[in-house]
């Protein structure tokens, strides 16, 4: 009886491993289409290169869209991309994923980091093992990566937020009450945008008054409650700017619950078009913005692949990326870093998009 049990167990485990191996979507079929870039001095065939694409967490629409772009790029060029993230975005999970990427012989990683410093040691180990490191969406300490695929500098995105609100006002130079609403007082990227936006407001629209800053902690329920309390607490509020993919839909939902439309209160910010389309179509909001996250994912894995081929990237270099165009490596100072090195720079996405009812249906992410 016991032997029989052990056999069954072994069989069960075997079955389980093969079942899981079948989940693996990587197509190992060797693609003959070696990279189209005539300028690539790479010495490895494209199909031998594996890039591990790491989101902050899985199951979030933003990161899944980034992965769609990454996979499409990989398929087109013919290298491999493994999407590897944990459902909970924690430092320990990301470190574990980086370690296993290094162990399993990946050539490069492209990561959206959950922390500005907690991955340093793991990334150093990756670099020591010859793995190329690229960050996207959310950066790490610039010492530990070659390139950061940036959605936009604080100047670009901060000004964009203010302009999206201003263009909806009858007279942006008149007195306006404005509220900020985003994820948390500690998140680096959103705070850097808002900080710049406030200097921009002080210069361009000195009559605007910032009445409150609220934080939804990335939590949908909490964000909805806060959105409703903003409307209740500030009856004369003219605009809410929400540069956060959880806060903006929640704010729009709160306005809709209160029966308000874009005529009564201006709501704008950053979120994916799929999450905002219903609010644009029913007139709750008129516009919102984002960058094309599918392009960001595609660009991140392409740059990782480009480096893994043995190419060098120096500040000032340009790379011709299929479907995206030419991108330039800028110095780290554009993001406000002090660390300057030849082989560490920032690539800013070429474009950001403002979504309105005229173009929201052209996008699917």
């Amino acid at each position: 009886m016991r032997k029989f049990n052990i056999l069954k167990t072994l069989f069960g485990i075997l079955l389980l491993v093969f079942l899981l191996a079948a989940c693996n979507t990587n197509d190992d079929g060797a693609t003959k289409d070696n990279s189209d870039g005539g300028d690539s001095s790479g010495n490895e065939a494209a199909s031998d290169i594996e890039v591990v694409f790491i989101p902050k967490m899985t199951g979030n629409a933003f990161f899944e869209s980034g992965n769609n772009g990454a996979q499409a790029m990989a398929e087109e060029i013919g290298f491999k991309v493994k999407y590897d993230g944990a459902p909970e975005g924690t430092v320990a999970n990301q470190v574990q994923i980086i370690n296993s990427a290094v162990s399993s012989g990946a050539d490069a990683i492209a990561i959206s980091s959950v922390t500005s410093d907690g991955l340093n040691q793991a990334l150093q180990n990756a670099l020591d093992a010859g793995v190329k490191v690229v960050t996207w969406d959310s950066d790490v300490d610039p010492e530990y990566r070659t390139a950061y695929i940036n959605q936009g500098t604080p100047e670009i995105l901060g000004a964009m937020l203010v302009d999206m609100a201003a263009e909806q006002m009858d007279d942006p130079n008149a007195e306006q009450q404005v509220a900020w609403f985003y994820s948390s007082p500690t998140v680096p990227d959103q705070n850097s945008w808002v900080d710049y936006a406030e200097t921009y407001i002080a210069e361009k629209y000195p009559n605007w008054e910032i009445v409150t800053k609220q934080f939804g902690e990335g939590d949908e329920q909490l964000s909805l409650q806060i959105g409703e309390s903003i409307i209740d607490s500030y009856p004369d509020l003219d605009a809410v700017i929400a540069p956060d993919s959880t806060a903006l839909p929640a704010m729009a939902q709160a306005a809709e619950n209160k029966g308000l439309t874009a005529e009564d209160i201006i709501i704008t910010g950053f979120a994916s078009p799929n999450s905002m389309r219903q609010f644009i179509e029913n007139g709750t909001i008129l516009n919102h913005g984002l960058w094309d996250v599918t392009d960001q994912g595609a660009l991140a894995v392409y740059i990782a692949y480009y480096l893994a081929q043995g190419n060098e990237l120096k500040v000032g270099d340009t790379v011709d990326v299929p479907n995206i165009g030419e991108v330039t490596v800028e110095p780290n100072s554009v993001q406000g870093y002090d660390y300057e090195a030849e082989d560490s720079g920032i690539i800013v996405l070429p474009e950001r998009i403002v979504f309105t009812k005229h173009n929201t249906n052209d996008f699917d992410f």
């Binding site: 590897d84 320990a92 296993s100």
Partner: protein
């Protein structure tokens, strides 16, 4: 009692060997001993807490506050050494003691307050992670960033090697040895089993069962403190949210190790094997090209298949009978 346990452990041993062979066939790099030993870093925290949570579960209790104690310990090390400026090694000892204090609080309330272990440790879990976040606020860094800037000697705790063996592997075996000796070679260990089998009978036999129960929570808290030190060293910064995702993995390896959640039966050998199995399963599947988000599926299947086998083993049934049947306490 002891004669019955090895059967389950034998099965775990076979699963582990099968795992290594299968993953080795899928990706030969998996058989690289350096990679296998380094992977201990990623589950060491789970394993060392699970050793002592095994004690708690044998007494019939449960401790789910371990993950939060990791975060609290981590923050305490960061604040003591980086903000107040105490010597790093003294900070480590104090931080581990803080972990022990958390365990003591749990243990006293459960053993002497007669409150259900699940309720207290759930409250503890929320309380300790809350305290950790408040403490980070005092340190002047944002909760998002964590406290960093530890000396190299501290980072070496996790990344160092002794005779080519990573420190995390050594720590695993040291903690395992402590747990093993306590549980199998001392009277204390026997009392833990007896308390779990029947607390009233043990009490009449002259065992201070409440002390025994409280002490298991202290050990569990101390081990969470050690795990917090290791994780802080490994990740190079102190953060309040470290260990938050360890709750279920800890319980997983305890029950996969063959310890009955109802108490009275189990052991740390099974827990040790189970933690290695789960750890290798994760890295093996990742190296086989499976994405991390599917690994829970594998662990869940493994657990359910194993539990099903445990369910049809005869001594499990007799145990259940013994636990479920009404106790006749003649006074």
């Amino acid at each position: 009692m002891l004669a019955k346990i090895p059967k389950w452990n034998l099965m775990l041993g076979i699963i582990l060997i099968a795992e290594i062979i299968i993953f080795g066939l899928i990706n030969p790099r998996f058989l690289n001993i350096t990679i296998l030993l380094n992977s201990f870093n990623d589950f060491i925290g789970i394993a060392i807490i699970a050793f002592f949570v095994t004690f708690v579960v044998i007494t019939g209790g449960i401790d789910i506050s371990g993950g939060s104690i990791i975060g609290l310990t981590s923050v305490v090390i960061g604040i003591l050494s980086q903000v107040i400026g105490i010597n790093i090694w003294v900070s480590i000892i104090l931080a581990i003691l803080v972990g022990g204090l958390c365990g003591l609080l749990n243990g006293i309330l459960i053993a002497y307050g007669r409150v259900q272990a699940m309720v207290i440790t759930l409250g503890g879990m929320l309380l300790y992670s809350g305290v950790a976040i408040v403490l980070v606020g005092f340190s002047g860094v944002s909760t998002y960033e964590g406290i960093s800037g530890f000396p190299q000697a501290f980072t070496n705790l996790a990344y160092g090697k002794l005779l080519g063996i990573p420190h995390s592997v050594l720590l695993f075996f040291i903690m395992f040895a402590i747990a093993f000796v306590l549980l199998y070679w001392t009277r204390y260990g026997r009392y833990i089993y007896l308390t779990g089998i029947n607390q009233h009978a043990a009490e009449y036999a002259g065992i201070h069962t409440r002390k025994i129960i409280a002490s298991t929570y202290v050990l569990s808290g101390l081990s969470a403190g050690v795990a917090g030190v290791m994780l802080t060293s490994y990740l190079g910064s102190a953060r309040a949210d470290f260990g938050a995702e360890y709750l279920m993995p800890i319980l997983t390896v305890v029950v996969l190790g063959g310890t009955l959640i109802t108490g009275g039966k189990g052991g740390v050998v099974g827990t040790a094997l189970a933690s290695i199995i789960v750890g290798f399963l994760q890295i093996g599947l990742q190296m086989g090209g499976v994405s991390t988000q599917y690994i829970g599926l594998a662990t869940g299947l493994l657990l359910i298949i194993s539990a099903a086998f445990l369910g049809i083993s005869a001594d499990f049934k007799s145990n259940i009978k013994r636990i479920v049947s009404p106790q006749k306490n003649s006074v």
